[in-house]
C-alpha cells in the first residue's frame, strides 16, 4: 500500500471527512483537525507506517493540508 493512500485513510478515519477531494485545503482553519487530531495522526503514522515524528517536528504550518502531510511523510519515510 502506498503512502498517499495510507495517509488519506488515516485522515479520513480521524476526521470523519473525506479529504481526498480537497487536497490543498487548510485542515486546521476549517476546524477538521486540531491538536488532538494531530497527535492521533502522529501516532497512526508510527503504528501504520513506522514513521517516527517527534512532536516538536510538527510545525503546524508545514502539516496543514493533505498534500503537505503526504509530502512530509514521504520525506520522513
Amino acid at each position: 500500500m502506498d503512502i498517499k493512500a495510507t495517509v488519506l485513510d488515516i485522515l479520513n478515519d480521524l476526521t470523519g471527512n473525506d479529504v481526498s477531494g480537497a487536497m490543498d485545503d487548510n485542515l486546521f482553519d476549517s476546524g477538521i483537525m486540531d491538536s488532538m487530531a494531530s497527535v492521533q495522526l502522529l501516532l497512526s503514522l508510527q503504528s501504520e507506517l513506522g514513521v517516527n515524528v517527534p512532536v516538536s517536528e510538527f510545525e503546524r504550518s508545514e502539516w496543514d493540508t493533505p498534500n503537505k502531510i503526504i509530502a512530509k511523510v514521504e520525506a520522513l519515510a
Binding site: 470523519g16 486540531d34 491538536s35 497527535v39 501516532l43 516538536s56 510538527f58
Partner: protein, 403 residues
C-alpha cells in the same frame, strides 16, 4: 543610575531610536554587526535591570548561567545518549527557579522571591523549549552564544512574545534582503504606533482613569447576591479592555522593535475579540504562550496518554488534557485561588466547546448556521472571556474577602 520599565516612557523610546539607527543602516546595506547588537542588548538590559533594580539584575545573571549550564550540558549529553528519567530531571531543574518564584508569594504572605526578576517566566519557557527540542532531536546544533542571544534578546525579555530557538536562530544568522527589510521596517514602525495608541491612550483610559472608579463603586455596592453589582459588571469589561490594550500594546512594541532589528518575532494577538469559540480564542489571544502550552504541554501529554493507552476514548484523553493544561497555565499566573479558578474555567470551557463542536458536526442538518448564529457565537465567546478575566483580575478576592 536610572532604571526604565521597558517601553515605559518617551525617554526609553528615544534611546531605542538612537540605539537602533546604526543597526537599521547596517541592515539596509546587508550587514549585521553581532558586536553592536550585543552591546545594544547589554545597554538596554542594564537600563531595565540596573540602578535600583540591581538585585533583579544579579538574579538574572545567575539564572541565565544556570539555564546555560543545564541546556548546554543536556545538549552535549544528548549527542550520544537519550535517557527518559534524565530528561525529566533536567526539565524539572530548568523549571525549578520559576516554581520557587511563583510559589514564594503564596507561602510567604505575598513576599516576592529573591531570585525573581522581570521576565523569569518567559525565559523559562524559552529554555524548556530548547531542551525539549534537543530531546526530540529536532534541535541538533545547540550553540551557547546563540542561546544567550535568544534568551537575552532585549525587546522581548520582559514579557514575550515567546519565540522559538530554531526560528530565532534562522533570523539571527541571516540578513534580510533590502526589499524584505524595508517591508519589516515599515511594519515595525506601524506596530510601534499602533502600540502607542493601545498602551498609552486606550489602556491608560481603561486602566488608569476608568478602572479605579469602577473598582471603588463595586466595593461600595457590595451586599447583593454574591456582592454582584452593575459597577462590578462594568469593571469586568473595563478590566478586559485594559488587559487587552495593555498587553497587546506591549507586544506590538516588542514585535515592532524586533522587526526593526531584522528579527521576525511572532505576533502575540490576532483579533481575539472576533473568535467564534474559546478554542479559536486561544489561537488568537497571547498566541505565543498558548501555542507554547499547546506544543509543549498539551500535545505531549496527549501523546503520552494515547501511547500508554491511559484512557479508552480519545475524547476523554483530550478533555482530561485540556483541564490539566489550563490548570498549569492558571498555576503559572500565580498560586492564588483566582488564577487557578481562571485556569479551571478555561479548561472546562474548552471541554464544553469541544463537545459542542462534535455534537454540531453530527447534527449538521438540524443546527442552523447563519450570520445571526455567527454573531451570537462571537458575542457569547467575548462575554465568557470577559467573565474569565473578572475571575483573573482578583477583584472578587477583594469584594468577597476584604473586610
Amino acid at each position: 543610575m536610572l532604571t526604565f520599565e521597558p517601553y515605559g516612557n518617551p525617554t526609553y523610546f528615544a534611546l531605542l531610536g538612537v540605539a537602533l539607527l546604526p543597526l537599521m543602516i547596517g541592515l539596509l546595506y546587508g550587514k549585521r554587526s553581532r558586536l553592536y547588537e550585543t552591546l545594544v542588548s547589554i545597554f538596554f538590559l542594564v537600563l531595565t535591570f540596573g540602578g535600583s533594580k540591581w538585585t533583579q539584575g544579579v538574579a538574572l545573571i545567575i539564572y541565565i548561567l544556570y539555564e546555560v549550564v543545564l541546556t548546554w550540558g543536556y545538549a552535549v549529553y544528548r549527542r550520544n545518549h537519550n535517557s527518559g528519567p534524565l530528561f525529566y530531571l533536567m526539565v524539572i531543574l530548568a523549571i525549578a527557579p520559576l516554581t520557587i518564584v511563583k510559589v514564594t508569594p503564596a507561602v510567604e504572605n505575598g513576599q516576592a522571591s529573591l531570585i525573581g526578576f522581570l521576565g523569569v517566566s518567559y525565559l523559562t519557557f524559552r529554555a524548556v523549549q530548547t531542551m525539549m527540542e534537543t530531546r526530540d532531536g529536532t534541535l541538533k546544533n545547540y550553540n551557547i552564544m546563540t542561546f544567550l542571544q535568544f534568551m537575552l534578546f532585549f525587546p522581548t525579555i520582559s514579557s514575550g512574545p515567546i519565540d522559538r530557538y530554531r526560528r530565532f536562530e534562522a533570523d539571527y544568522r541571516s540578513v534580510p534582503d533590502r526589499d524584505k527589510y524595508l517591508g519589516m521596517l515599515q511594519k515595525g514602525i506601524r506596530y510601534l504606533f499602533v502600540g502607542f495608541m493601545y498602551k498609552f491612550i486606550l489602556a491608560y483610559y481603561f486602566g488608569t482613569i476608568l478602572m479605579p472608579k469602577l473598582q471603588l463603586m463595586a466595593m461600595h455596592s457590595r451586599g447583593g447576591f454574591l456582592d454582584i453589582s452593575w459597577p462590578l459588571i462594568g469593571y469586568m469589561y473595563c478590566y478586559s479592555a485594559d488587559l487587552f490594550f495593555d498587553f497587546a500594546g506591549y507586544s506590538l512594541f516588542a514585535v515592532g522593535t524586533s522587526y526593526i532589528m531584522g528579527i521576525a518575532t511572532p505576533m502575540n494577538f490576532n483579533q481575539p475579540w472576533r473568535s467564534p469559540n474559546i478554542k479559536d480564542f486561544w489561537n488568537r489571544w497571547h498566541i505565543t504562550l498558548s501555542f507554547w502550552f499547546r506544543d509543549f504541554i498539551y500535545m505531549r501529554l496527549v501523546f503520552w496518554f494515547m501511547k500508554h493507552k491511559v484512557f479508552k476514548k480519545p475524547t476523554t484523553t483530550a478533555n482530561v488534557t485540556y483541564i490539566i493544561n489550563m490548570l498549569i497555565m492558571g498555576f503559572w499566573h500565580g498560586v492564588t485561588w483566582y488564577y487557578i479558578t481562571y485556569g479551571l474555567f478555561h479548561g472546562v470551557a474548552l471541554v464544553v466547546n469541544d463537545t459542542w463542536l462534535r455534537y454540531k458536526k453530527k447534527h449538521r442538518q438540524s443546527i442552523p448556521h447563519n450570520k445571526f448564529t455567527q454573531v451570537f457565537a462571537i458575542f457569547l465567546t467575548a462575554n465568557l472571556v470577559c467573565f474569565s478575566f473578572l475571575i483573573f483580575s482578583g477583584i472578587l478576592d477583594k469584594i468577597w474577602f476584604l473586610k
